[in-house]
């Protein structure tokens, strides 16, 4: 008799396993479908409408001399790719920071990492332009990375003293304000010519991306994302807390450094190209984990990347068309969609605690 119930439990478990796998497949399928649809919509919409049939012809390299060809290849396509790459990178960065701090509300924007990057990039743009006529995208990434690490370092210092999550977040937000204040200060006293580029950039936008930008972002984000994927195993161990992770054989010190470096690199790349973008890093990982109903890094990492890409492309589309011909800042749109998610998440946690 006990054997029978044992077998019953076993088959129920196998069913559950199948159901779970089906769910993962469904989520991935939906994400890919959304990616395709939004890509087409994104190419399709704008001040110049291009029919779908024409789009495919152009994408296949036909009709090279039409104006539509250059609109698609020079303006819309790089922008779309950039939104996808940076959105994915930003979400992944958020997921890593949440794992690191064991806190679902951690993210590059909230912890002041984006603002730190923004500050150093602004300084670089303004002062480097005195000496060089052109600042390369690599230089911007390096500057943003330095700024990110500065903020992260500061937060890590604080996190040794402040164990409470709310206080840590407040500290991050304060760091964000300080960095923004420094940036504003510099911008106020800079000459107009120096800050023409800066203004659009510092508000956050995917517009004006060149293929060079796309190439650089693709290399950095691609390599980093691949590295993160290979770190899925220790990330999974880390989700149980440091002490357990170490007892499973993870070299905690090395892992921590690696985690911080890759997540800063990702958010730095995003900031260098598109400026600080809010809420993506928190909202997307949360939504994706809920959809998958798991936090297994091996599955969550690619899904978060895809989800971030879809989210940012969608938001960029809205930014472009909502009040066309005027374009919104990307953060305006991501906040509108992201902030409610964060609030819902906090309410849910609070409810869970009370119960």
């Amino acid at each position: 008799m006990p054997n029978q119930t044992e077998q019953g439990a076993r088959s129920a478990f196998l069913n559950e396993n199948l159901r779970r796998r089906a769910r993962y497949q469904l989520v991935f399928l939906l994400l890919v479908a959304a990616l395709v649809v939004i890509t087409v919509l994104n190419i399709n919409t704008g001040s110049v409408a291009i029919p779908v049939g024409e789009i495919f012809r152009i994408l296949l390299g036909q009709a090279k001399d039409s104006a539509q060809y250059s609109i698609i290849w020079k303006i819309r396509l790089p922008r779309i790719l950039m939104a996808a790459l940076l959105g994915g990178g930003l979400s992944l960065s958020g997921f890593l920071l949440q794992t690191f701090f064991g806190n679902p509300i951690a993210g590059p924007f909230v912890l002041g990492i984006s603002s730190g990057a923004k500050m150093v990039v602004a300084l670089t743009m303004i002062y480097a332009l005195h000496f060089f006529s052109h600042v390369s995208s690599w230089a911007l990434i390096v500057a943003a990375f330095a700024g990110s690490l500065m903020s992260v370092g500061f937060i890590l210092l604080l996190s040794r003293k402040l164990k409470h999550m709310a206080i840590l977040l407040v500290a991050g937000i304060m760091i964000g304000y300080i960095c923004s204040a420094v940036t504003d200060f510099v911008v106020t006293f800079a000459e107009d010519a120096d800050i023409i580029n800066l203004r659009g950039w510092s508000l956050g936008s995917f517009s004006g991306m060149s293929w060079d930008n796309v190439a650089v972002a693709a290399v950095v984000v691609g390599i980093t994302a691949a590295v993160i994927f290979t770190m899925a195993k220790p990330i999974g161990a880390y989700q149980l807390g440091e002490a357990y992770a170490q007892s499973m054989g993870v070299n905690i010190k090395a892992f921590r450094v690696a985690l911080i470096v890759v997540s800063s690199l990702l958010s730095a790349t995003v900031t260098a190209f598109a400026g600080p973008i809010s809420f993506v890093g928190i909202a997307v990982p949360h939504l994706v984990k809920r959809a998958l109903n798991t936090s297994k890094p091996l599955i969550v990492i690619p899904a978060v990347f895809l989800g971030g890409a879809v989210f940012c492309m969608g938001c960029d589309l809205i930014a472009r068309i909502a009040f066309a011909p005027t374009e919104l800042n990307i953060s305006t749109v991501t906040s509108v969609f992201g902030a409610p998610v964060v609030i819902a998440m906090m309410l849910r946690r609070q409810g869970g605690r009370a119960a």
Partner: protein, 361 residues
């Protein structure tokens, strides 16, 4: 080389380079259960954290299977040692099975994908702790007792030679405490897994452990087999008990006795006195108990709750000395309670005593 599986030599532990406890020298054989006891804040956890390498050792050495702990890589250590910690984790969206699966970490490949063999080991571990039916439950949605069992399954499927548990029975009710400890005992004896843990329940520690280590102040106060370590004074010293007592025979604890001029003489035998003693203790009435043979179960409790126990050697007729002492108290106490005395060949004088007390019942 010694035959011991785990040993420490002059180990000094503490936080941030400040020594807290020094000269810890312990030898543990394979398959033994060793329990650290001691008051709150005595440093039990500090010792456990040091031997699991969460804390840096300040001095001395630790050997596992004759290898020095410091020389083992984290990876090598992970196949020898598993842990169950006190800190309560709140993993997000993880089923119990996911938690148990993390125990296979040292054995899976680069991406941590589980093989059929891993799955089988997990099943086995979950079966060992009676947690198979919890497989698909959310780890955050189960009870403390279930959680502790799942964490133990996690540790078991890590296939360690030694498991370290920091206060595994905290938050558990009595049933789950017993269940957990029985699982540990079975594991240690059948699989030869060495267990080192800390417990708050000294009564349970005494019953499950092969060795007890008393941690107090800056050193190990006592160590050894439970029957050597557990005497009343040692426990009193260790925990600085100033209210109540600990009886090492059955590991029972009692609140302090009522003090003052005895008001009641309790006549009892063979356990009939126990409920009476407890009632008087709760009411705060000082009393005298007698005449009790020193092997009587009533005697063990009366010893710690009564102002005085009139005693007699086992299997002997009641002596004049004891009888007169009983008469003395019979005279002085305003009240006598006869809790029920079985009269036999040796204690027939009790019948006479009861007869004389008749007016005071």
């Amino acid at each position: 080389m010694s035959d011991f599986y785990f040993s420490t030599q002059q180990l000094t532990v503490g936080y941030d380079g400040v020594p807290l406890i020094h000269d810890i020298t312990i030898d543990i054989a394979r398959g033994e259960i060793v329990t650290l006891i001691g008051p709150n804040g005595s440093g039990k956890s500090t010792i456990l954290k040091s031997i699991t390498r969460q804390l840096k050792m300040i001095g001395g050495q630790v050997f596992i299977a004759s290898e020095e702990l410091r020389k083992l890589s984290y990876k090598d250590l992970s196949t020898k040692m598993a842990v169950v910690l006190t800190e309560r984790m709140k993993p997000e969206l993880m089923t119990c099975r996911d938690i148990v699966a993390t125990g296979r970490y040292p054995y899976t490949g680069r991406l941590g994908i589980l093989s059929a063999q891993d799955e089988a080991k997990m099943e086995e571990a979950m079966a060992a702790v009676h947690a198979l039916d919890l497989r698909n439950r959310d780890f955050n949605a189960i009870s403390d007792g279930q959680r502790q069992r799942v964490l133990l399954a996690r540790a078991i499927c890590q296939e360690p030679e030694i498991i370290i548990l920091d206060e595994p029975t905290s938050f558990l009710d009595i049933r789950h405490k017993l269940q957990l400890l029985s699982i540990l005992r079975g594991m240690a004896k059948q699989k030869g897994i060495t267990v080192i843990m800390s417990l708050h329940e000294i009564d349970l520690a005494q019953k499950i452990s092969d060795k007890i280590i008393c941690v107090k102040g800056d050193h190990i106060a006592r160590a050894g087999e439970p029957d050597k370590v557990f005497d009343e004074d040692a426990i009193r010293d260790l925990y600085e008990i100033d209210q109540g007592t600990f009886d090492p025979v059955f590991g029972s604890i009692e609140l302090p006795r009522p003090v003052g001029e005895p008001q009641v003489l309790v006549l009892s035998a063979c356990g009939t006195g126990i409920p009476v003693f407890r009632r008087l203790q709760k009411q705060g009435v000082p009393f005298v108990a007698g005449i009790l043979y020193t092997n009587d179960i009533d005697y063990r409790l009366a010893r710690v709750l009564a102002m005085e126990v009139i005693e007699e050697k086992p299997f002997m007729p009641i002596s004049d000395a004891a009888f007169n002492r009983a008469l003395y108290w019979l005279d002085r106490c305003p009240r006598v309670i006869n809790a029920g005395v079985e009269i036999g060949e040796t204690n027939k004088r009790m019948a006479e005593l009861i007869e004389r007390a008749r007016g005071k019942f």
